[in-house]
């Protein structure tokens, strides 16, 4: 929704270049290659209050460091007098762009300016106008699924069930979300995988077999992976496209992707839908594995250097898998998708990738509550999302 508003707004604005004609938009200001693994020092001039705060947060999330003018390689000058105006130059004054924003509110406009700065500097679209799903705990047995801007603003509840929930996940086209609920039916709170339409709010039961039903993850081809214990132990199952739980209450058309006594968890598809990755245990050792979408052997994804991986999340560009390593505390780690040396990027857990395959949003445990945080993977810079009323965890980055 926010994105639509902004797109309309951007179309209608006058996009003026500083020193018209002197440079293509952002053309000579690109920060590429190795330099993208270091923080880009950038100064904000003329912005105050909320807009300044939004710009700082956004730019620092996306690999910049907001510094005094004297230390900056780039400068964003502008103001917010009813609408946000911003101009990007390098230190020497070479122009990038100069734009006025309309539509949405000032926060939305500031996010759009941040995105333009990152697009101009790196050639990669920014993620400042995206949204995230997460779980929020409001009481001892009261958790709901929430949606907010990626920075935690404008949180809205997607459920109002006053029960437990787990692991909200987007469908690949972001039109639906999947989550696990403990809604009471037939006298017990048997776990249930729910699919919820983001436009209409309509909900459909995707699995409610005896025992555990969780982990709903949809592939681009429409295969739905879930963790079910109907076979006597938590195992990974895949339902074919168009499959309806209500028409297959015995699960005869489900395909079991593994048969183990172990605690499989955290199913995630490769972005091309060819592989399914999850966490399991073999010979006493917890590990990440992948299985071809059409079935086959589990293939280990080595995560050398760290222990007890769980909660894998495959990056949108297909190159990396983020996961949580448990070694006393929890660490958010990244490993090449084929496996290899795992890189610890932040203290925390339950990471999911942003659409840019560069940022991860994750959970960090505090004294009394859990809160969300974002890490810029190459620079390992962490930004904490201000705490909500309740305890927030299990974020899922949308678009």
């Amino acid at each position: 929704m926010v994105w639509c508003l902004l797109a309309v707004g951007l179309l209608g604005l006058s996009t003026n270049q500083l020193h018209a004609g002197s440079a293509p938009r952002g053309g000579n200001l690109q920060v590429v290659g190795e330099a993208r693994n270091k923080l880009i020092p950038i100064a904000l001039e003329g912005f105050v209050g909320e807009v300044a705060g939004v710009l700082k947060f956004d730019l620092e999330v996306m690999g910049c460091k907001v510094v005094p003018l004297a230390d900056a390689a780039f400068v964003v000058r502008g103001k917010a007098d009813g609408s946000v105006v911003g101009a990007l130059t390098d230190k020497a004054g070479n122009p990038g762009f100069n734009r006025r924003y309309s539509g949405g509110n000032l926060r939305d406009q500031a996010h759009a300016l941040s995105n333009d700065v990152i697009q101009a500097l790196t050639g990669v679209p920014g993620i400042a106008s995206t949204r995230v799903l997460f779980k929020m705990k409001a009481g001892p047995r009261a958790e709901e699924v929430f949606l907010s801007d990626y920075d935690g603003h404008k949180p809205v509840a997607l459920t109002n069930d006053k029960t437990l929930v787990s692991a909200p996940r987007w469908s690949p086209d972001h039109s639906k979300v999947f989550y696990t609920t403990w809604l009471k039916r037939g006298g017990i709170e048997n776990t249930t995988v729910i699919q919820q339409n983001m436009k209409t709010g309509e909900r459909e039961v995707m699995a409610r077999y005896r025992g555990l039903n969780t982990g709903g993850a949809l592939s681009p081809q429409g295969f739905l992976a879930m963790i079910l214990s109907r076979g006597g132990s938590p195992d990974v199952y895949v339902a074919p496209p168009g499959w309806k739980f209500m028409e297959d209450l015995k699960g005869q058309n489900l395909r079991r992707m593994c048969v183990t006594r172990e605690e499989e968890n955290g199913v995630t598809w490769s972005p091309d839908g060819q592989w399914l990755c999850f966490a399991t245990r073999a010979n006493g050792k917890r590990m990440l594995v992948k299985v071809a979408a059409q079935g086959g052997n589990m293939i280990r994804i080595p995560t050398s250097g760290v222990l007890n991986p769980s909660e894998p999340n495959w990056s949108p560009d297909g190159k990396s898998i983020a996961f949580t390593a448990a070694m006393g505390g929890f660490n958010v780690c990244v490993v090449p998708a084929q496996g290899g040396a795992a890189m610890v990027v932040a203290a925390g857990e339950a990471p999911t990738w942003a659409p840019n395959s560069r940022n991860l949003i994750f959970t960090r445990r505090g004294v009394n509550k859990r809160q969300l945080a974002i890490v810029d993977v190459p620079t390992k810079q962490v930004k904490i999302i201000p705490a909500f009323v309740g305890s927030a965890s299990q974020p899922a980055w949308g678009n």
Partner: protein, 222 residues
Amino acid sequence: MRGELYIKAVACAALLGIVGMGCKSNDNAGLTSIPSFAGSGNNSGGGNPNIGPGNGNDTGGLPRGNPNGNGPKTTGTNVGGTDNGDPNTPLTIPENFQEQRDIFERVHFDYDSSELRPGDQDLVAQVAQHLIQNPQHMLLVEGHCDERGTEEYNLSLGERRALTVAEELVRLGVSADRLGTQSLGEKVPLSEADSKAARAQNRRGEFVLFMPMTGVVELPQK
């Protein structure tokens, strides 16, 4: 204890780092391959006893969620059913049954383990005896974890714990039809203290008994 586990794990990881992890497809105890969708049984199995009107145990509608957060609406989708004989169907509790928690002592688990402790075998045997003597009664086994695992891992671990207890009950002669399992992961700790004792208390299996509201119940002797 924790340190010991950590060291063991490190040693194990070091070994694996050298050898690599062989995922043996022919090892039943290890990782297994799966048949494909094609040709998987499509038999309808006759009339489905689990859904439809007139079901005395209608499980209720599923309220609609909030579309982008705009107020809840309600629609009716019946899920589940009453066929407790079908291992696919969640245990369904008749409406005239009451829930009894804390009748039976809890069992506990070691860190990161779903093995039944030898000392807890007797507790499970008491539950089995009760269920055998009271054939109408039904039981939900809840599996809980401490907060040292990740949330998704704990959800599966809690289920594995509950299943281990349920397996033992079946082994002792209880019909699986009357048993359900439910994981709560780390969501419902008994103690929120940050201590070894609190964590040990939280790694547990709980027995939730369902019995008809009327009638005398003979509770097990402790």
